[in-house]
Structures are given as structure tokens and as C-alpha cells.
């Protein structure tokens, strides 16, 4: 359906996106994962024709849309990270305005507004000005507005950021339902791993403008198939203990937090005796030691050496 080929964007000296290659097939929910500043928003802005790339191409149905983006724009619904609504207008007035932008009018517009308001659960708030809405309601309306023209491809840039868990679940369920019932293709960017794990069939992981991994959830987790993650919790981490862990030849990776250190080791190795020995040597008190099956978060940690929300 849509393909990014060696897509690059430079802002003066900063290369925000570097030779990005990705594709989305019709009916998929694809996740684009990465920490803040990874280049996700720039990538989707180029994909939706809002930002001109410095290099590479965006192809829609095998045709470049860089020169003539109208055909892509017709089928794209964009949910920006910001609340792209008029605060002083009511939910219904916002929908009327954006519906007219999408050339809907008369009865068709009215029917569509009713339908979308129902889908996002704001029918009873249609006459209320947006400034009086809660954060979650604003987010839902932000999504609803982009669905007015029945887009085939919905690009969602962190649509559930900064809202309560209940509203987040509502949004995730809505996206899932749209995909199931209407085969709507969705590109979902987030730095919340659990959102992407819940929604997406395939995942792209970006960091510092680079694509660092891609594939299905299972394929990505396979990156850590030969390894296991051990999480060691303490009341206060001792610097000497970290140094000893880092110096140990059997440990592949050490990521230390304030009270927790996560190590990656080969699946075959029994690390418990060694860990107890190192803790004794460094006089480190241990609260708990957990062996975990790898998550996408662990993969990201493994690939970048940083947590997603760092």
C-alpha cells in the first residue's frame, strides 16, 4: 500500500531520519516504536506528505507521491500528537469544520458526525466546547475528526500520550475495532511498548533517526531468543557491584538504574551462584532476582542500551 524508500530528512546539521525503509500492507496495524527524538514524527510527516524529504521516496500504490500527493491525502487520516482541534468550538462544530474540509456536506456530513461521535463515545458531549473536555475526551475527538472521511490509512502519532489508563484503553480498543471491522490500515507510533504489543502485527523500531529493527512481534523477540534477561532489585545500588557485573565475561549486557540492574546473559548459563558471589564481594544487599522472558522493551534495551522512556 505505502512504502518508504531510503527516506532521509536533514534539518540544517541534524539528520532526523536516516535512510528509512519501511512498508505497510493494506489492513495491517504497524507499530513505529522509538524513544522521544527518535525521528518517528518526522518520518510519518514525510509519509503523509506534510514534510518534504531531503532524500528518498514515498510510494503509494507503487507511485511516488512526492510531486503529487493528492491521491494519498484522499485516503489518509492523520492523528497528530498535539490536539489539533479548536478549543473554543464545540465537538460538533469541530467535526462540521473538518468534515467540510473533507468535502462532506448536508445529510452525509450530519450522519457521519453522528456515527463518529458514537464510535468515540462523545455523542452526549457534542454541544460542549472542547476547552471543557478532559484530556482523554480531547484525544478521542482528535482521533474522531481524522476518521470523518473514512480514511483507508490512519496514521496515529502517539495518540494516547498523557492520558488516564481508562481513556487509553478506550482508544486502543477503538483502533483495534476499526481495524477488525473495516480493515482500516493503521500506522501507530508510540513510546509505550505495551500499546504496540497490544495493537500491532508488525513493528519498526527507530532510534536516533535510524531503523534498528523490524518484523513481527515474535520475530523481534527472537533477537533475544538465545538470551535471557535477569532483573536484580536492591534497596540501593552499589557502584562496585555494577563494575563487577560489567567485568564478568559471561554477562552480555548491563543496564543499571537507581535501584535495579538488568543483565542479559546466554540462555544456558546458570547465573545465580555467580550473582550471589559477586554481591558478596561487592557487599551488595539484594532484594530480589527475577529471570524474565524477553519483552519488546528488553529488545529495545538490548539494541540501544537505553530504556524506551529515557
Amino acid at each position: 500500500m505505502i512504502e518508504l524508500v531510503d527516506l532521509t530528512k536533514k534539518f540544517k546539521q541534524i539528520e532526523a531520519v536516516k535512510n528509512l525503509n519501511m512498508f505497510i500492507e493494506k489492513g495491517e496495524i504497524v507499530g513505529l516504536l522509538g524513544p522521544n527524538g527518535a525521528g518517528k514524527s518526522t518520518a510519518i510527516s514525510m509519509m503523509s506528505s506534510l514534510v518534504e524529504p531531503t532524500g528518498g521516496d514515498v510510494r503509494f500504490n507503487n507511485k511516488s507521491i512526492l510531486k503529487n500527493p493528492a491521491s494519498l491525502r484522499k485516503i489518509v487520516g492523520m492523528v497528530p500528537q498535539e490536539i489539533a482541534l479548536y478549543d473554543d468550538l464545540t465537538a460538533e462544530e469541530n467535526m462540521q469544520f473538518f468534515g467540510r474540509i473533507y468535502r462532506l456536506k448536508g445529510y452525509a456530513l450530519k450522519r457521519k458526525i453522528d456515527e463518529v461521535l458514537d464510535q468515540i463515545g462523545l455523542s452526549d458531549r457534542r454541544k460542549q466546547v472542547v476547552s471543557k473536555f478532559s484530556g482523554g475526551m480531547k484525544r478521542r475527538l482528535n482521533i474522531g475528526v481524522s476518521m470523518l472521511h473514512d480514511p483507508e490509512l490512519l496514521i496515529m502519532d502517539e495518540p494516547a500520550v498523557g492520558i488516564d489508563p481508562q481513556s487509553r484503553n478506550y482508544i486502543l480498543e477503538t483502533v483495534k475495532r476499526l481495524n477488525d471491522e473495516r480493515q482500516m490500515t493503521v500506522l501507530y507510533t508510540s513510546h509505550y511498548m505495551e500499546e504496540v504489543e497490544f495493537l500491532c502485527n508488525r513493528i519498526y523500531i527507530m532510534d536516533q533517526g535510524n531503523l534498528i529493527a523490524s518484523g513481527t512481534k515474535e520475530e523481534i523477540k527472537q533477537i533475544l531468543s538465545a538470551e535471557k534477561t535477569i532483573s536484580i532489585k536492591t534497596s540501593r545500588l552499589n557502584g562496585r557491584f555494577i563494575t563487577l557485573l560489567e567485568q564478568s565475561p559471561t554477562i552480555n549486557q548491563v543496564v543499571a538504574g537507581e535501584k535495579e540492574v538488568t543483565i542479559t546473559v546466554s540462555k544456558e548459563i546458570n547465573m545465580f551462584p555467580k550473582l550471589i558471589h559477586l554481591a558478596e564481594e561487592a557487599e551488595q544487599e539484594l532484594s530480589s532476582v527475577d529471570v524474565k522472558t524477553p519483552t519488546l522493551e528488553d529488545v529495545f534495551l538490548h539494541l540501544t542500551g537505553r530504556a524506551l522512556r529515557d
Binding site: 506534510l50 514534510v51 518534504e52 492523520m78 473554543d88 473538518f98 474540509i101
Partner: protein
């Protein structure tokens, strides 16, 4: 689509009470304050000083004249009496004082003369609202005629009671009475000596030198002046308000949504231009309408007024779209803030919104007329004075050219592609 942009803009302005108050309420308040406070410094303004004078006449002037003529007939030959009768109309001292001095055009605006009966005298003396009480004694006219015509030695006198609490009013009344006395004395002297009083009138033809014509068709009141000054200044804030809303649309990616709806950016641009123009025009009509209803500032020529308002609204539209284009280009609201925070005040000062700066220097007047608000102000003031299009066309042409230049600059500045972010 443009209608949708205009409708949305209108709703947003209406739903912002603070902004609405600043745009519409503030100029009305400023017109009231400045028009009242600075009224005295303006030409053509009616005086805020009210002088109230009571006239108490003991006896009837006409009866005294008739009695005087009758008594005169007993002493002088009929030809001489007839000659005196012909000239007597100019020698009615009480009527002259009441009608020619206190009742003359300019003075009557300031002095309120109340004719009272002698029985009211005590009551009037205790009434503090009166500035002066002029009491005409019994036989005043008769005695005055004797003094003037028959050279009797005793000159009769008016009795003047003054209210010392009204200093300015008292000095005005005294000034008028002194002037009256002087004129009457000179007139008497001239007529006694057979000289035509007309010789004292200035011969205008004899005056030589450069003559500057001052437009005094309709003097502009302070409220009228400040209504124009405040409106032409305040409507500039509408340009920055709409420019600000437009930049907010970019910042919150509403503009992206519009672009993704396959709406041409030039359609959006036109929507902003028309918003500035139409809401600017409505703003002018609303505030001037209010000024007409509350302060009585009426436009002698409505068509000329509407023409000036339309052309000025075009300039406002031009500024609106230029501010929008620059803020989109530099991705910052700094230009709109600079315009509303500093530039408007400077332009208002140069344009004469705060005081008639052009009166102090021709150069300043020329500079002021090179600002859109200054040109608009000159055109509006011209209409208030009674000028037609032919007298103010130069300001209209400037406003039109200014609007055109602003729109062209905005077209050049408005980013053509890739403006998300």
C-alpha cells in the same frame, strides 16, 4: 471552504469574551475617556464651562423709550425728535446687553440667560447655581437715554451680584460686561459726533500677505477625533489576533489537517485575508455605530464613510495575512507579538490617534499619513469635516496600495511546501 474558515473565525472571536472586550469594548472606553479629558485641547469643541446669568429688570424698556420720546417732544422740535427716533433702535441698552452680548452665537452656547421677575430677586441671590445676577434698576433705559442723547451728567449703572465660588464664570461675565460697556461708550461717542460706527470695522481688503486656508467646514469635536483615533488603532489589533489564531493552527497541526484534506494552502491564505478584511470592516462598523449611538458621532456622508471603511479594512486584511505568512515562515509568533506590542503603539502615535501630532509639524503629518492608520484617520477626519471622496482620495489610494503591497509580500513569504513541524 472560505465560508467555513470565516464562520470558524467568527465563532472563535465571539467565544473569547476577553478578546472581544479588548477589540470592541476598549476603543469605546478610550473614546469616552480621551474625548472627555482632552476635549478642551481640541478645536471646535463646545466648552465644558456653564455660566448661568439671571436678568432682573425693574421696569419695561420699551415703555421707558416711549416716555423718553414723549418728554423729548415737549422740549425739541418735531424734526429733531424724528431724527432721534430713527437712531433709537441702536440705543436700547438692556436689549443690546441681553440679545447682542449674551445672546450672540458663541456666547449663548456657554451662557444660559434666565429672565426673572423682581419678586424672585432674594430667591435668586440664594441660589448657588447662578454665576451672576444682573439687576437693571428702575428707569435705567430712560436715564441712559438722557445721558447719551441729552448729555445729562449722571450715567446710570447696572447692579451686578456675583457668585464668588464660580471664578471662571464670573470672569467671563465681567469680560462680557466690560466689552459691552466699551462698545456702548464708543458707539455713543461716535453717534454724538456724527461719525459712522462702520469705520471701526476692519477693512478685509486692506490686509495683505500670505493667506492660509484652514478647513473649517465642520469643526471636529474631541469625541469625534478620538473615536476615529481609537478605532483606526484598535482595529490593527484584530490583524494580530487573527494572525495569532492562524499561527496557533500551525502549531497545533490544525493547518496540517487542512492541507491533508487536499485544501489548497492558497485557499486557506485567502480565508485569512478575507477574515481580516471582513471582521475588520465589521469592527469599524460596530465601534463607529456605538460611537454614533452613545456619543452622537454622525457621518455627514455615509457612502464616503463606507468607502473609507472598506479600503481601510482591505489594509487590515493585508496586515493580517502578512503577519500570518511571516509567522508561518519563521515558525514563531514573535512578529505578531512585536506588531501588537510595539508597532501598533508607534503607528498610533505617528498616525495621530493619541493627539493631533500633524498639527505640530508638516513632516510628522506626512510620516503619519504613510501609516495605514494615519491615512485612515486623515480620511475619516476629512469626512467628519465635510470632505468628499475628491478631497480624501489620496489617502484611499495609499491604503489601497498598502493593502496590495502587504498581500504581495505575504504571498512571497508564505511557505509553499513542507511547513509542518
Amino acid at each position: 471552504m472560505i465560508w467555513q474558515i470565516l464562520k470558524k473565525q467568527g465563532l472563535m472571536l465571539l467565544r473569547n469574551p476577553v478578546q472581544l472586550l479588548l477589540l470592541v469594548g476598549l476603543p469605546i472606553i478610550l473614546i469616552a475617556i480621551l474625548g472627555t479629558a482632552l476635549g478642551g485641547t481640541m478645536n471646535g469643541e463646545s466648552s465644558p464651562i456653564d455660566v448661568k446669568v439671571a436678568f432682573v429688570e425693574h421696569g419695561d424698556e420699551e415703555q421707558q423709550i416711549n416716555r423718553f420720546m414723549k418728554d423729548l417732544g415737549a422740549e425739541l422740535p418735531p424734526e429733531a425728535v424724528e431724527g432721534i427716533r430713527e437712531g433709537i433702535d441702536g440705543l436700547m441698552p438692556v436689549s443690546t446687553l441681553r440679545e447682542d452680548v449674551f445672546g450672540s452665537g458663541d456666547v449663548s452656547d456657554m451662557v444660559d440667560v434666565h429672565d426673572a421677575k423682581p419678586s424672585e430677586l432674594e430667591k435668586l441671590k440664594n441660589d448657588d447655581s447662578y454665576t451672576a445676577l444682573i439687576e437693571v434698576p428702575e428707569n435705567f433705559t430712560y436715564n441712559m437715554l438722557e445721558y447719551m442723547v441729552l448729555d445729562k451728567p449722571e450715567q446710570p449703572e447696572l447692579k451686578i451680584s456675583q457668585n464668588e465660588t464660580q471664578e471662571i464664570g464670573v470672569s467671563i461675565v465681567n469680560g462680557l460686561l466690560e466689552q459691552y460697556q466699551e462698545q456702548f461708550t464708543i458707539g455713543t461717542f461716535l453717534s454724538k459726533n456724527g461719525i459712522d460706527p462702520g469705520v471701526l470695522e476692519q477693512n478685509e481688503d486692506a490686509v495683505t500677505g500670505e493667506t492660509t486656508t484652514v478647513n473649517q467646514k465642520n469643526p471636529v469635536t474631541a469625541k469625534g477625533y478620538y473615536a476615529v483615533g481609537m478605532v483606526v488603532m484598535n482595529v490593527l489589533f484584530l490583524a494580530s489576533t487573527i494572525g495569532s489564531i492562524a499561527f496557533h493552527e500551525k502549531k497545533t497541526h490544525v493547518f496540517d489537517r487542512i492541507i491533508l484534506g487536499n485544501v489548497s494552502r492558497w485557499l486557506y491564505f485567502t480565508g485569512i485575508l478575507l477574515s481580516g478584511m471582513i471582521f475588520g470592516f465589521l469592527h469599524l462598523l460596530i465601534v463607529y455605530g456605538f460611537a454614533w449611538l452613545v456619543f452622537g458621532i454622525a457621518w455627514p456622508n455615509l457612502m464616503t464613510f463606507l468607502t473609507v471603511s472598506f479600503v481601510y479594512a482591505m489594509a487590515i486584511g493585508g496586515i493580517t495575512v502578512l503577519l500570518t505568512a511571516i509567522s508561518y515562515r519563521i515558525n514563531s509568533e514573535i512578529i505578531t507579538s512585536f506588531f501588537s506590542g510595539i508597532l501598533v503603539t508607534l503607528m498610533a502615535f505617528l498616525g495621530g490617534s493619541f493627539f493631533p501630532i500633524g498639527n505640530s509639524s508638516e513632516l510628522l503629518r506626512a510620516i503619519g499619513n504613510l501609516t495605514p492608520n494615519g491615512a485612515g484617520m486623515s480620511a475619516y477626519i476629512g469626512i467628519l469635516r465635510g470632505d468628499g471622496i475628491q478631497e480624501i482620495w489620496i489617502h484611499l489610494l495609499f491604503l489601497f496600495m498598502f493593502a496590495l503591497a502587504a498581500i504581495v509580500l505575504a504571498v512571497v513569504s508564505f511557505p509553499k511546501r513542507g511547513i509542518s513541524g
